[in-house]
């Protein structure tokens, strides 16, 4: 209690800066006067009386110090003093301060950005969701291909039988038409979810309620309800307070709004924002021509919430085991050879988290290297700063400053820079983190990531600032202490060439910096070559000059009969439209996202599948002339044409991979494939083309079926233009409106735009690492230049002396440049060794380029040498321009 009171009084004095100096002085004066009077009475002379009084009182300054120490908080006061001093010092050399803070901001900004992204995909992706780290996702592997969605029956089985998880929920993205009476329908991205979805995630509605738990998912139409996102409620319904209970029209069916999700909740589909949610049982009424049991052919995403204490490995093993158990129960079904995998958010292939998650290790590596580079730079700048102040430090030491005080002073200055750099870096990272929205392909979906910092982020940055202070401060502290111990005051008598060991230390440090640069440059080179290889790789189809658009016929109320008629009529009209060279329809555009990867079970007469061989192939549905319009090579036979319709013989086309797989000896043409229980004759074989991933070197078998013989309601129109794609956009719209004025034309894009999203993904690593490479080179250049320039100033007298002794300017110039040559050599050696280790991390990200690609290494080395040369040029010229007489006279 007393201690607290005393501390509070001290704190108050410290905070108000109140000084009781005046009071003490008066009291002391009074005290001395009384003692003097007493002494006088005792018979002393006036001067002796005063002298004795002062003696008896004691060392007045020491007492004043004690008094002050008692009054305030000495530790804080010293700190404040150091801070003020550091601020003064830094404001005296603003160039140094600004350079240091900006360099630090760059390093910390990069690291914080990557940490923000990690947080956004791995640790706290959904701020509204209860303990998102317990969530895991399940996807399927079919025929060795990952990332497939899970069947509804599998989901039920997992939910009912799983022991590692508390509960499971299913969800999938869909697009729904929101139609207000009399208004043009608006397509929004929505989630079709199991009824327990919101409770599973631990989310409570901000208005109304969520779906009834345990409603029968197959009681189609019984619960045609919809939950709106906050964004949709505000944007589309003007935040109407009476929204709950309102009936709105979704794809022509009445759905009742039962609630509004909390603000900022946009689903858990890895970065893709959902605007509304309907239960699985609403699936039937979301389109006009739904099958009687839509869940029979509907892929779902499945999330599970692990029980506390259950490890991912245990749960993953159970998922595999359950997948096998499910297959045993349904040996004849399509799902017999499906395997299921457990993923965390950053490895889940659906959505964009996986895409970001893939880059994170490399980005973290690059950020840490950059940070290391920055720290070395700052340490060397600070030690120079300290060296420049050797006289001042020596004076402080000789005046009695303890080593601890000097170290505290240097560390305070470093800490101040670190805090300023961290704040600047943090501020920058808020902007830099948003680059995610620009970098990532969005496939036409609205994106949302949790890029808000939280307490963890604050501690992360504080920890970095502390680490930087210690890491960068230790070198200059050591140096300052050494200065303070040495006789630094008589500098004039110092040796002509000072501190050879210091010079070597600095050179190694610089070399190390260049080595880090080299590693980043090599990685960037390899990834750039990878991206170029992928872009330049032949796709097997023609990406140029092709216009595409999507029609969702079932959502617009078309039944199969009417839809088929519309497709035929549409192609008929488009063929004769001026400017259109050729036109076709397809269920999936090459390298497009939508409609890809649908597998169908097949059987082939005469082909005996091996044990455990899954007879399923990826199947697309194509209109007449598809291969001609796409520029896909016909290897044998013919392509689909107008003769292939519902009343003619059933036909299919296959790709070369399928022909090789099932007819290794040839003779595929004329053979038949049984699909949908109907035998269909193979009439053509086409060349393999890039189906989805342009970097895939192992093409899968593909089966193509005429659209006219297998109705598909969601189709793409693809047109070759005689001139440019944009020239026929208006014509396409006119033709579609002419057939049905209420039919919306979606995603009108060129094939180049559609496919560029795939290339964008392969470019991301190279682009990101390019940013790091540029930053690293800049930081290294800065450090190199600063050190070289300073060492030239330091060696002024040496150069003057050399010149006075007959050295030529060219020789001095060479001397300085050869010094940087040595640094470069150290850099190349350390960088070479470092990159041997580092590139191994990249192995899985490379395509068509060797791990030790000579071109990348040579380019990195050349760039580094040029950098070193450029940085050395100006200091070398300066050294060569020394006027010997002037330089020697100034001493």
């Amino acid at each position: 209690m007393r201690l607290l009171r005393r501390f509070l009084a001290r704190l108050a004095n410290f905070a108000t800066g109140r000084q009781k100096d005046q009071r003490l002085r008066e009291e002391v004066e009074e005290h001395l006067a009384m003692q003097t009077a007493e002494n006088l009475r005792a018979g002393m002379t006036p001067s002796e009386a005063r002298r004795q009084a002062v003696l008896k009182f004691g060392a007045r300054e020491a007492i004043r110090e004690d008094y002050h120490a008692e009054q305030g908080l000495p530790v804080l006061e010293n700190l404040m003093q150091d801070l003020r001093f550091a601020l003064r010092q830094l404001s005296k050399s603003p160039g140094f301060a600004i350079t240091t803070v900006l360099t630090l901001a760059l390093g910390i900004g990069a690291l914080t950005t990557v940490a923000t992204w990690t947080n956004a995909v791995l640790y706290n992706p959904w701020p509204h969701v209860d303990t998102p780290r317990q969530l895991r996702f399940i996807d399927a592997t079919v025929l060795g291909n990952n990332g497939y969605s899970v069947h509804y029956d599998q989901y039920r089985f997992l939910r009912e039988s799983g022991r590692s998880w508390k509960d499971a929920a299913a969800f999938e993205l869909t697009s729904i038409d929101l139609a207000e009476p009399g208004a043009q329908p608006e397509a929004v991205t929505a989630g079709v979810v199991s009824p327990n979805y919101f409770q599973f995630l631990g989310i409570t509605p901000q208005k109304g309620r969520f779906f009834q738990l345990n409603a029968d998912d197959r009681a189609y139409g019984a619960n045609d309800e919809i939950v709106l996102s906050d964004a949709l409620w505000r944007g589309h319904f003007n935040a109407s307070p009476s929204i709950v209970g309102r009936v709105i029209s979704i794809s022509g069916h009445p759905f009742t709004v039962i609630g509004v999700a909390p603000a900022d909740f946009a689903g858990i589909y890895g970065g893709i924002a959902e605007a509304a949610w309907t239960p699985l049982s609403g699936l039937h009424d979301l389109s006009a021509d739904s099958a009687p049991d839509p869940l029979l052919h509907y892929g779902l995403q499945v999330a599970v919430r692990l029980r506390p204490g259950v490890s991912s490995e245990t749960a993953a093993a159970e998922v595999h085991a359950l997948a096998r158990a499910f297959a045993m129960r349904h040996p004849d079904g399509n799902l017999a050879h499906w395997d299921l995998n457990l993923r965390d958010a950053a490895h889940f292939q659906r959505g964009l988290f996986g895409m970001v998650g893939q880059q994170l290790p490399v980005l973290f590596g690059a950020s840490i290297l950059l940070m290391l580079l920055v720290c070395i730079n700052i340490a060397s700048l600070l030690s120079q700063h300290a060296a420049r102040r050797r006289r001042e430090i020596a004076i402080r030491a000789s005046l009695g400053a303890s080593p601890a005080r000097i170290a505290a002073q240097v560390l305070t200055e470093t800490g101040l820079l670190a805090v300023a750099g961290s704040l600047a870096g943090w501020a920058a990272s808020i902007g830099m983190a948003r680059a995610l929205y620009v970098l990532l392909p969005h496939f036409g979906f609205p994106l949302v990531f949790n890029l808000h910092g939280d307490v963890r982020m604050f501690f992360f940055i504080a920890a970095i600032a502390l680490a930087v202070t210690l890491a960068c401060g230790i070198y200059p502290v050591r140096q300052s202490l050494r200065i303070s111990q040495k006789e630094a005051l008589h500098e004039g008598g110092a040796a002509v060439t000072r501190g050879a060991s210091n010079k070597h230390g600095r050179r190694i440090l610089l070399g190390f910096q260049l080595g880090i640069c080299f590693v980043v440059l090599v990685c960037c080179g390899l990834l750039t070559r990878t991206a170029l290889n992928i872009v330049n790789r032949s796709t097997g189809f023609d990406r140029n000059n092709c216009l595409t658009a999507m029609l969702s016929l079932s959502r617009s109320g078309y039944t199969e009969q009417r839809g088929l008629a519309l497709q035929v009529a549409l192609l008929d009209r488009l063929r004769t439209t001026p400017g259109v060279a050729s036109a076709t329809l397809t269920s999936h555009l090459p390298m497009g996202e939508y409609g890809s990867g649908n597998t169908r079970g097949i059987s082939i007469p005469g082909y005996v599948p091996a044990k455990d061989e899954d007879m399923a192939v990826t199947t697309d549905f194509e209109g007449p002339d598809f291969f001609h319009v796409m520029g896909i090579a016909m290897r044998q036979g013919r392509e689909f044409d107008l003769r292939d319709n519902a009343s003619s013989a059933m036909v299919v086309v296959i790709n070369e991979s399928m022909a090789h797989r099932y007819w290794p000896k040839g003779g595929a043409i004329g053979s038949s494939v049984i699909f949908d229980k109907q035998p269909r004759r193979i009439v053509g074989i086409v060349g393999d083309y890039a189906y989805s991933d342009p970097a895939n070197t192992d093409p899968s078998p593909l089966l193509f079926v005429p659209l006219a013989q297998h109705y598909t309601s969601d189709v793409f129109v693809a047109l070759r233009s005689r001139t440019t794609p944009s020239a026929i956009t208006a014509q396409l719209r006119k033709v579609v409106t002419g057939l049905d004025s209420s039919l919306p034309l979606e995603e009108v894009r060129t094939l180049e735009e559609v496919t560029s999203e795939r290339y964008q993904m392969s470019r991301i690593p190279a682009e990101l690492l390019g940013v790091y490479a540029i930053s690293s080179v800049l930081v290294a250049m800065l450090g190199l230049y600063a050190v070289m320039a300073y060492s030239v100033i330091e060696r002024y007298r040496e150069f003057a002396l050399r010149m006075a002794l007959g050295s030529t300017r060219a020789a001095i110039f060479r001397l300085v440049l050869s010094g940087s040559g040595w640094t470069a050599a150290v850099g190349l050696v350390t960088g070479g060794l470092g990159s041997i280790l580092a590139v191994r991390l990249l192995r899985s990200m490379l395509f068509g380029v060797a791990l030790f690609d000579p071109a990348s290494y040579c380019a990195a080395a050349a760039l580094l040498l040029v950098t070193v040369f450029l940085c050395g040029l100006a200091p070398a010229r300066r050294a060569a321009s020394v006027e010997p007489m002037e330089a020697l006279r100034t001493e």
Partner: protein
């Protein structure tokens, strides 16, 4: 070094409290003289060291101070015991007596008493 000062300051503080208790409000010089008189030459303390102790006690709330006029009509700062100070003094006195009693007992013990 530090420890030693603390102990001395503590003792000095107790002396200050007792002095103010006995003599009532007093200025710094008066306290110093009084301590000197009582301890004689045994306590070789500089008078000035008293002032940090006075400040410490004041910040702890044991004493309060205000400006007043001294005997010979000079302006002086008078210190007086607060209620908390009285309590503190009582507690410290008890403490001190206990400590001295224990120490005294130790000194009184002779070798044959322990056998």
């Amino acid at each position: 070094m530090r420890k030693k000062t603390d102990v001395r300051q503590g003792t000095l503080g107790l002396m200050v409290l007792k002095t103010l208790d006995v003599l009532g409000p007093l200025h710094g010089y008066g306290v110093a003289r009084r301590i000197e008189q009582i301890s004689g030459d045994l306590l070789a303390v500089n008078q000035g060291t008293l002032y940090p102790v006075l400040l410490k006690l004041e910040q702890e709330g044991a004493i309060a101070s205000e400006w007043g006029a001294s005997e010979n009509n000079r302006r002086a700062r008078f210190y007086r015991l607060t209620r908390a100070g009285h309590k503190l003094l009582d507690a410290e006195t008890l403490d001190w007596e206990k400590t001295t009693a224990i120490i005294a007992r130790f000194f009184a013990v002779r070798a044959e008493d322990l056998s």
